[in-house]
């Protein structure tokens, strides 16, 4: 069951390739001996073109660090990132990033937030508006174009963020627990919407979550990380559930439960370790 899912997918250059990435931070305040904190150690993983990969792991295990490295927002201390075979330097222009917390520009209306990316790429807001309207409609927000972020609910803000990212049509999507702040119902709606959009236009997705159910129901592959510090990969599971999926219904199928149990067995020890560490510090 824990067969390595990478083999076949690696024939083409992977959309994202982490090569022994290590991220060490200068520790703030009280910390272990050498005054440094290694969030991620020797992490190597690949995301094939069009593949939906989720990364799960206990809290504080450096999941977001990995994503920031992939985005080019953070330089790894050692190791390298390759994007479609090319080494990454600076911001990853072929990736869209969906943040965990609110990242919409507060003084721009929903529409202007969606057009922002196109404006940054040299288009005028007027020229970009029709497509932005289309995208707002696609994420179910037609008619909300003149609302400011604070006038939208959490779920709606996430939809705007989704449209804001997808209008640029990036081949890679980096998602950092994008739905963790939402209630369960809204969350499942958003997950289904994401799957639908992804199904229509297959992009490589690196999806970070701490929710194993979410990871399994969305992904082609689930990667389990060890507890920090010095996070590394401890499991890599291919998810062979049929698509298209409904994230709520698929959770009831026997295969889902089987996968869940298998991955949870690997994860459990790490979760406890992570919890013990967070209690100590």
């Amino acid at each position: 069951m824990s067969e390595r899912g990478t083999g076949a997918a690696l024939r083409a250059a992977p959309a994202l390739l982490f090569e022994r990435v290590t991220c060490t931070f200068a520790a703030r305040g009280k910390s272990a001996g050498d005054g440094r904190y290694t969030a991620v150690r020797d992490a190597s993983l690949a995301v094939a073109p069009g593949e939906f990969v989720s990364v799960v792991g206990p809290t504080g295990c450096g999941k977001s660090t990995l994503l920031n490295v992939a985005a080019g927002l953070l330089q790894p201390s050692s190791g390298a990132i390759r994007v479609f075979g090319e080494p990454l330097s600076g911001i990853n222009t072929r990736a869209g990033y969906m943040f965990q917390s609110d990242a919409l520009i507060p003084w721009r209306s929903a529409l202007a937030n969606v057009t922002a990316g196109l404006e940054f790429h040299g288009e005028s807001r007027e020229a970009a508006a029709p497509r932005a309207h289309e995208w707002l409609a696609r994420v179910g927000l037609a008619g909300f174009h003149d609302r400011y972020p604070h006038q939208l609910s959490g779920g709606m803000r996430k939809r705007v963020a989704l449209a804001q990212m997808l209008i640029l049509d990036p081949p890679i999507l980096l998602m950092d627990e994008p739905f963790s702040a939402l209630d369960v119902q809204t969350r499942q709606l958003m997950e289904n919407e994401l799957l639908e959009l992804w199904q229509a236009n297959r992009k490589s997705v690196l999806f970070i979550t701490h929710d194993l159910e979410e990871a399994i129901s969305l992904s082609d592959r689930v990667i389990v990380l060890s507890a920090g510090p010095g996070t590394r990969e401890i499991g890599d599971y291919a998810i062979d559930l049929p698509r298209p999926r409904d994230v709520a219904e698929i959770r009831m199928t026997p295969r889902f439960i089987e996968l869940y149990q298998a991955i949870w067995t690997t994860m459990k020890a790490e979760v406890q370790k992570g919890y013990a560490q967070s209690k100590r510090s």
Binding site: T93, Y97, I105, A116, E119, F120, Q151, Q164
Partner: protein, 271 residues
């Protein structure tokens, strides 16, 4: 917070008017012989003026048109000081916030300049720029500048790192970041300090006039004070207060328009 209903607001306005009436009545009573002893009335009229006389002066100013050129001068000075001080404060705030080396270098001097009682610069400005409006505007600028500067500096420092990272991921260049993220964020802080900075500009104009000028409401007050015409002094104060209230009202209106995107505490419009 609950919004006051129309009836509530009407009643509150009535109470406000009553309170004002009460103050004037007390003032009138204390300065009228017959209600208090002639001696007391004379004394308090000397120190506080007589309300009826004060209102008469105000009325004469406005009906005779004598006040308009002075008022215009004061308002022009206020406006110029506000605009120039804001622009300078915005530029300096942005510059220092985005260039840490400059900020480190300038830090002690900015602190010193801010700590200095800048009103004392008025005589120097009078020497440098003469008794015209320039010296008043200069004084106003020194007052407005720091209000705006500190707000902008803080505003830029507090731009959400997530919003910044997001803009970068969406392809914003350094220039675009400055124009689309830092500048709007800083501007919003300028607007939120609008009340203070407009007030400061007004103070700069009036104090400047008071310390040496040939025109303006501050000048009228100075002249009247020179001949112990206390009624005119109070009339000037009354006019200035009215002006300040009017400016404040305009600012409140402008703020509501310019900061629509800001969440207000009273209005949570979740959907």
């Amino acid at each position: 917070m609950r919004r006051a209903s129309a009836a509530d607001r009407g009643r509150i306005a009535l109470y406000h008017a009553l309170l004002l009436g009460l103050v004037f009545a007390f003032w009138y009573a204390m300065t009228t012989p017959g209600i208090v002893s002639p001696e007391t009335a004379k004394n308090s009229a000397f120190f506080f003026g007589k309300p009826v006389e004060v209102l008469k002066v105000v009325w004469a100013w406005f009906s005779g048109g004598k006040i308009y050129p002075h008022l215009a001068i004061t308002l022009v000075e206020t406006l110029l000081a506000f605009v120039a001080g804001s622009v300078l404060g915005l530029a300096a705030g942005l510059w220092l916030a985005l260039w840490p080396l400059a900020a480190t270098l300038a830090d002690p001097y900015i602190k010193a300049a801010n700590a200095m009682p800048r009103v004392i610069l008025a005589p120097i400005f009078a020497v440098w720029f003469g008794l015209g409006i320039t010296s008043k505007v200069a004084l106003g600028i020194t007052l407005v500048f720091f209000v705006v500067f500190f707000n902008v500096y803080q505003g830029v420092k507090e731009v959400s790192p997530v919003v910044l990272a997001n803009a970068r991921m969406l392809g914003a260049s350094r220039r675009a970041l400055l124009r689309q993220i830092y500048l709007p964020s800083a501007t919003s802080w300028v607007f939120s300090s609008l009340h203070t900075s407009v007030g400061m500009a007004f103070v700069g104009a009036v104090v400047g006039e008071y310390l040496g000028s040939a025109k303006g409401v501050g000048y009228l007050i100075l002249q009247a004070e020179g001949v112990f015409d206390i009624n005119t002094v109070f009339a000037g104060i009354l006019v200035l207060t009215g002006c300040a209230l009017l400016l404040d009202y305009v600012v409140t209106k402008a703020e509501a328009r310019l900061l629509v995107w800001r969440p207000k505490q009273a209005e949570t419009e979740a959907l």
